[in-house]
């Protein structure tokens, strides 16, 4: 333990060489807290600067973004970039891209919640032959790099004629292919007391009833965390839609964003940044609405409600 030498505390320190928290004066405490806040604020500023830059740049004319322009705000403040961004690309309106992203993200949330919770229940509460083997296999899929399966998966979906539909992007979510979420829920369920199930069983409940009436309500924090993550991941997914979608009318936002920047022609950075700002909003709203549940999900261990 070391003491922080401060002018006000120095007199006390010479008399009491061992650190004694009680000897710390109110002034030293305030100074410590001030230093902590200054450092924290400085770090926040560093972390948030890119976001600030993005928002500021979305109001600048294209020629003033990047390059030798270093000022954050432009005197030529305008909403033109947003107008261009909302115009859409190649005859497809930006609202279409938003709708597509929303369909994919909500589909992913619903699919993951339904399938992962049921699979997790099976792994955590039902003793079936080969359970540990299957559980191990599921965990193993977590270790499989995504890039290894891209081509085989593409071949399968291509042969099934499902390319250029949303099915390749969503079917995995409905089949609990996201092992991470299954694992998350299994761990959560293992912490719920088994006595609850046993009591329900004595009352005559089957698996469906136990799952629906007892487990699901108790798992709310895990379900919320899962929804938030799968929403954000799906909203930001670029590679999946890139590989499986061919028609511009079906593109989600991340694909559309990239179309504003073309190194081989002229790039409209302004419109791209404006669209990034717009694309960020739904994720931000989703997060703000559910964020208190995230905290709840982390702090609730075991039983609640």
């Amino acid at each position: 333990m070391t003491t922080i030498a401060t002018p006000t505390a120095s007199a006390a320190d010479t008399q009491a060489p061992h650190y004694n928290p009680k000897s710390e004066t109110a002034g030293a405490k305030r100074l410590k807290s001030a230093i902590f806040h200054v450092v924290a604020l400085a770090l926040t500023a560093v972390v948030l600067y890119p976001a600030l830059w993005m928002i500021a740049s979305s109001f600048k004319p294209n020629a003033e973004i990047g390059g030798s322009n270093t000022s954050l705000w432009s005197s030529n403040f305008s909403f033109d970039n947003f107008v261009t961004a909302m115009d859409g690309i190649g005859g497809v309106s930006t609202m279409t891209f938003f709708t597509n992203s929303l369909i994919l993200a909500l589909g992913a949330v619903v699919g993951t919640i339904l399938s992962a919770s049921v699979s997790a229940y099976a792994f955590a509460r039902i003793k079936f032959p080969g359970r540990s083997v299957f559980f191990g296999m599921m965990i193993a899929t977590l270790l499989l790099p995504f890039h290894v399966v891209i081509i085989p998966q593409y071949i399968i979906f291509n042969q099934l004629g499902l390319v250029d539909t949303y099915i390749p992007l969503l079917v995995g979510k409905f089949l609990a292919a996201d092992a991470f979420f299954v694992f998350l829920m299994v761990q959560f369920m293992r912490n719920l007391p088994a006595e609850l199930d046993e009591a329900a069983r004595i009352d005559g409940a089957g698996h469906a009833r136990i799952f629906g009436s007892i487990m699901l309500p108790l798992m709310k924090p895990a379900l919320i965390s899962t929804s938030i993550f799968s929403f954000i991941w799906s909203w930001n997914d670029f590679l999946g839609p890139l590989l499986y979608l061919n028609t511009p009318e079906k593109y989600p936002l991340p694909l559309a964003l990239r179309l504003f920047v073309d190194q081989t022609q002229s790039s409209d950075y302004g419109a791209m940044i404006a669209m990034s700002v717009l694309a960020l909003l739904p994720v931000l709203v989703f997060f703000l609405v559910f964020q208190r549940y995230i905290v709840e999900g982390v702090s609730t261990q075991g039983l609640k409600g």
Binding site: Y154, I155, N158, T264, S266, S267
Partner: protein, 427 residues
């Protein structure tokens, strides 16, 4: 008992055989369409909003003229475009017709992913004879150029005027060009740099080699120049590095994603003439001009026309005839030229070029290519497999040179090692 090693082998074999099976497929009979029951072909391209809009118009025109064919268009940005093509090629799902880039032609052509276009009916009579070989590999035509670029020196006349420097007339030696860069740097007091390091641009090096009648790559895909050639090249601006004649690498990095020239930090730049619209947009300059590259031999500028992009078809397309008709339309039809202007580059086919009216910036680029006509030589063969990597490492090692991390000898050694490794790998 499955141990881990066997398991991996089994999975790998399974995957590989699945890929092979998928690649084989069954040859299906050629389909023909009618106005009532049109065949559908997929066409894909990279590019921005503007190109998407123009292409949509061209497709609508094609469908109006060919009611028996329907074209499904789709597009992505350039880097993602190649990720998607790589996956599709492995999975046997390449679109029927694709916009293509020269640096990927040999790779996909050699792997038999592309259709030999000499087996279908496409009219190439209006093309410059020196241009067509750039779409051919070992006697097979895999790509038809839509349009051309030529290399040039850009400069901003307004910046030169404000410094009181005379505009270059385009016939200059390397020493004169270096002197020009130095004059810009000194007269502006360091506020404006002459250019970025032109010796870091692969194509400029390639042109300098051609000025001495050296080909960069031999026919069997080996390097056609020696380490000494490369050292001599990088030494050309040895005295200029670190002076206001050449912008520092640090500054270039600060300016990203824009180029130094596009951010008004330099007065000139060597690159392809189709960057005009991008530079004008980025810099906000009123006017930019183009002159030929420097050469120590005034009769041999080493210049050539490079296809800025090509049209190719998938080897597995079920609608060869429809694909060929669409390619023919996109490269030859004068109305298509009128739609795209020079946004794909200067139209390669004479019928298309003559059918298009060029104004403003478009005219500058077309006039430039006309002005260098008498210097043009045959376009080089499609670059070797892995050329993109080589070009990138050329740039990276040149940057190290400008940072002062290596000297010219070390840089040449480093690049040659990378190049030889890569050529061995792909041999």
């Amino acid at each position: 008992m499955i141990d881990r090693r066997n398991f991996l082998t089994t999975v790998a074999l399974g995957t590989a055989s699945a890929a092979v099976l998928a690649a084989c497929g069954q040859p299906s009979p050629a389909q023909t369409g009618s106005a009532d029951n049109p065949v559908t072909i997929n066409y894909t391209w990279w590019g921005n909003d503007d190109r998407a809009e123009r292409t949509r118009k061209a497709i609508a025109l094609f469908e109006a003229k060919n009611p028996d064919i329907k074209v499904n268009g789709n597009f992505t940005d350039f880097p993602a475009y190649w990720q998607k093509r790589a996956t599709e090629a492995a999975g046997g799902g390449l679109p029927d017709v694709m916009q293509w880039d020269l640096s990927y032609l040999r790779d996909y052509g050699q792997r038999n992913q592309l259709l030999d276009l000499s087996t279908v009916k496409i009219d190439t009579s209006a093309f410059d004879k020196s241009l067509l070989p750039s779409g051919q590999i070992r006697g097979k035509t895999y790509g038809i150029p839509t349009s051309t670029n030529a290399f040039a020196v850009y400069y901003d006349p307004a910046k030169l005027a404000s410094l009181g420097i005379a505009e270059p007339d385009g016939s200059w030696t390397y020493d004169e060009y270096n002197a020009f860069l130095t004059e810009v740097g000194t007269k502006s007091g360091g506020a404006l740099f002459g250019s970025s390091d032109y010796t870091s641009v692969w194509w400029m090096f390639n042109i300098w080699l051609r000025q001495q009648n050296i080909e960069a790559f031999t026919e069997d895909g080996k390097l056609g120049f020696s380490k000494d050639d490369l050292k001599e090249w990088w030494n050309k601006v040895a005295d200029l590095r670190g002076t206001p004649a050449i912008i520092s690498e640090e500054r270039i990095t600060q300016l990203l994603p824009k180029s130094a020239f596009g951010s008004n930090a330099t007065a000139s730049e060597v690159t392809w003439d189709n960057f005009m619209a991008g530079y004008l947009g980025d810099s906000g300059a009123k006017e930019l001009k183009l002159v030929p590259v420097p050469s120590d031999d005034p009769d041999n500028l080493g210049l050539f026309l490079k296809p800025s992009m090509l049209m190719v078809a998938s080897a597995k397309t079920k609608n060869k005839d429809a694909a060929a008709r669409f390619i023919d339309f996109m490269v030859n039809d004068p109305e298509v030229g009128e739609i795209f202007k020079t946004s794909r580059g200067v139209p390669a086919s004479k019928t298309q070029r003559d059918g298009t009216t060029f104004e403003g910036t478009d005219k500058l680029v077309v006039d430039y290519e006309k002005s260098i006509e008498k210097y043009l030589k045959d376009a080089p063969e499609p670059p070797i497999v892995g050329f993109g990597t080589l070009e990138a490492s050329f740039k990276r090692i040149s940057a190290d040179l400008n940072f002062g991390k290596v000297d010219v000898n070390g840089a040449a050694d480093a690049w040659f090692k990378e190049a030889e490794d890569l050529i061995k790998q792909n041999a």
